[in-house]
Amino acid sequence: MQNEVSQTKPSGPVAASFIAAGIGSVVMGVLVIANDVSADVSNFLKFDANFGLGKGVGPLSGKVVLTVLAFLISWVILHLVLRGKEVNFTRALTIALVLVGIGFALTFPPIFEFIVGLFR
């Protein structure tokens, strides 16, 4: 196994992309809750009306734009940090899966409605 690993490219860049996807997922989940908790945040997230990104999409436009930006920016940063490095991929995958799991959970209506209820 170790010999096989040494014969391939380092895993850092792949770990970076996986963790970045996890970060994007969490950002989506957090924005789903923030949108329901705060009217100010909800108004800000209307990127269609505020920045001309489409028409009639509402706060979803801001949620997805910020999610994609979080994914891309974190990917670039993590890639620069981890490029050329062999990392513990199992640990990186675990981190990524936890983040993705949080993202899934926070978009699940019974969970995000419960959390939103705590703020009201």
Partner: protein
């Protein structure tokens, strides 16, 4: 035999792109699953790697196209607000052109929006993130992915989660379209 513009986009978003996504997932997962040195010869790996890169890249591209068309083309029609003279509390003919409000007008259908659409519109966007990471990993390692069982396992897990996210969105999309079509 005629489709309105809205129906055509709903078909492109849900049926055409959804079918491509399913095909790419099925082929990609089978390719990744069998990518083991005891199952494939070196020539076999070299032969199938371009197909695997293409399949996972196609899946990522289709995932992006699906959520972009869904969010910026179909969704505004779904959530459009009816004029003031349309009764929003009765599922009448005038409200049919406003699917979100039509669903919310009845206790029997409101959960299609409150649960189904609320989950679908958000969880769907996780799919392209995961699919892109998968496509990058497969393209990055290419034929040498067979030597990295740890990466291959991670790729398959992410690949499956991308499918689950898209599957949830697709399933609720189909149910919601059945209950209140965008037409």
């Amino acid at each position: 035999m005629n489709l309105t513009d809205r129906e055509l986009w709903a078909v492109i978003h849900g049926l055409v792109l959804g079918t491509l996504f399913l095909l790419a997932f099925g082929g990609g997962l089978a390719g990744l699953w069998s990518l083991r040195s005891r199952l494939v010869t070196e020539e076999g790996v070299v032969e199938r790697t371009p197909r695997l890169v293409l399949g996972t890249s196609l899946m990522a591209l289709v995932a992006w196209l699906t959520v972009i068309t869904g969010t910026w083309i179909v969704y505004p029609w779904y959530r459009a607000t009816p004029p003031a003279d349309v009764d929003q509390k009765v599922q009448g003919a005038a409200l049919e052109a406003y699917p979100r409000f039509w669903l919310l007008a009845s206790d029997a259908t409101k959960d299609w929006h409150n649960f189904g659409m609320e989950w679908k519109e958000h969880v769907a966007w996780i799919a392209p993130l995961l699919a892109t990471a998968v496509a990058f990993a497969v393209a990055y390692y290419g034929a040498t992915l067979i030597r990295r069982g740890d990466i291959r396992r991670g790729v398959m897990i992410f690949f499956t989660l991308a499918f689950v996210a898209a599957g949830v969105a697709g399933l609720f999309g189909a149910f919601i379209t059945k209950a209140a079509p965008v037409s």
